[in-house]
Amino acid sequence: MEKIQPVPGPLSEAYFAGCNAGTLLIQACESCAALQFYPRSICTSCNSSSLKWSPSSGRGHVASFTVVRRAISAAYEAPYVVALIKLVEGPQLMSHIVECDPESVSVGAAVTVTFAAWSETQAMPVFTLDEN
């Protein structure tokens, strides 16, 4: 059984290609310099459609998380940690926290992005806890 796969569209192709290349891309407005995620055709701050891709540092902190004890399907092995990550650049995204004891995760913990295979052709951003 396969994990739920994203279906990239014209606006997100570059983002998912970035994941495969090991880069977390967010959008930067060329008019007002605002940063945003998820990708859109317009800047939510000034409505400009001049947007470029900007690599995120991949660093952030846990805004919230949960340990899923009952998996959504057999493709996901419970327990797994789902988290909302607030990037140091500002935008927030959903992800997993991997390679840790689920009990060691806390709100506010510092994390760094890494990429995990979601299918034979697609990697997805996930995060690991920083060492103190």
Partner: protein
């Protein structure tokens, strides 16, 4: 624009049987609810000129309200099906009140039903579970519906020191109310220990922190305040209503711990000219226990961050300072999906008619109802009251 306060009233209300109702489709539950509500209002189907429904998951239809009208052979001049998740019920009531005030219809039925327990195919059940969230940026991470709400709960715990015991007390209180309601699906009293010992689902939520999966439906009849006096039951007036819409996807929420229930509540209180202290009861959306705690705070029943203490010290069970979900809520009465809050509405009508039997809140003159759809996305607060309040 004239204020909506006191201009429209609920004159009929009825529930179908709820829980496990095998062999009755969502359509038939909806029709049953409509006919029972018309009976309660003592009018014929031919007096209905407005119909609002929500779509069914077990029998999805492209034109749901039209299909119900056709089934009944009624021919309304105002007719639509709405979709705002769990927030649909009170959001459409807001629209119906506006339609009555502007003359789009005189007598509107709001009816909702579904058959989530008996009527869903395995594929439909999977769809319900996996269709929540952003398809590209959230769903791939495999969140179950409780997992989305667990994110709200964990953030509240970290920010304010709220505990799993506080959330469990919500489930215990709803069950205590349901124990007094012969119609409720789950009536055996439970304890905080029972909740914490139930199967872990998504931390901090256990099985008993999660609402039921049910069959069932309900309907109400609404009309203008002038016409309401000609109906047999004590009219229940719309005193205030307000909405707040903050996001669709939880990853885009500007706050995980304060919701747009704040704006919805402020708008409803302002229209009603009333405040939290005037409410004899509150029916708060309880798909999972943490939503009740957040709504108690956001609707001003206590300070932000003090929801846990309010539940423990003031009490939300029978005889508590603020009885919450007097019918048992989605946690213990029933939860047939989007129609879920209809039962909070019919219960409030009976509370304000003073016909709620064993669970009647003494001298209930006004009460507050709140529902949200999405993941704390789409909020409507409704304040109902008796004549003269």
């Amino acid at each position: 624009m004239a204020s909506m306060r006191g201009k429209v009233a609920i004159v009929g209300a009825a529930d179908t049987r709820v829980g496990t109702v095998p062999g009755v489709s969502a359509t038939e539950l909806c029709v049953d609810a409509i006919l029972k509500a018309l009976d309660d209002a003592c009018i014929s189907k031919h007096q209905v000129d407005g119909l609002i429904t929500c779509n069914s998951m077990s029998q999805p239809m492209l034109y749901h309200a039209e299909a119900m009208a056709e089934y009944l052979q009624i021919f309304p001049r105002y007719c639509f099906a709405a979709g705002a998740g769990g927030g649909t019920t009170f959001s459409v009531l807001h629209h119906a009140a506006s339609a009555i005030m502007t003359g789009m219809a005189d007598t509107i039925v709001i009816a909702m039903a579904d058959s989530l327990r008996s009527g869903l195919s395995r594929e439909q059940a999977m769809m319900v579970q996996s269709s929540t969230g952003h398809p590209q940026f959230e769903q791939p991470y495999g969140l179950t519906v409780p997992a989305y709400y667990a994110l709200v709960a964990q953030a509240h715990m970290a920010q304010y020191g709220t505990t799993a015991e506080h959330f469990a007390q919500v489930a215990v209180a709803c069950r205590a109310h349901a124990a007094r309601n012969p119609a409720a699906q789950m009536r055996t009293p439970i304890t905080v220990e029972d909740v914490l010992a139930s199967r872990p689902i998504a931390d901090p939520l256990h099985l008993l922190d999660c609402s039921l999966v049910s069959d069932g439906g309900a309907a109400i009849v609404m009309t203008s305040a002038e016409r309401a006096r000609d109906f047999p039951h004590t009219p229940v007036y719309v005193l205030g209503v307000g909405e707040g819409h903050s996001h669709e996807h939880i990853s885009q929420a500007h706050s995980l711990t304060t919701s747009a229930a704040v704006e919805a509540g402020e708008r409803a209180y302002a229209m009603a000219g009333l405040g939290p202290a005037d409410m004899a009861f509150a029916q708060l959306y309880d798909c999972f226990t943490p939503t009740v705690l957040v709504e108690l705070e956001d609707l001003g029943f206590c300070q932000k961050g003090e929801g846990g203490a309010f539940i423990t010290e003031a009490g939300i069970g029978p005889g508590g300072a603020l009885p919450v979900n007097t019918h048992g809520g989605l946690l213990s009465h029933s939860h047939p999906g989007n129609p879920g809050s209809m039962f909070a509405l019919t219960e409030s009508v009976w509370q304000l008619r003073h016909t709620a039997g064993e669970r009647q809140v003494p001298n209930a003159e006004a009460g507050l109802l709140h529902a949200q759809g999405g993941i704390m996305s789409s909020h409507t607060t409704l304040i109902l009251g008796r004549d003269g309040y």
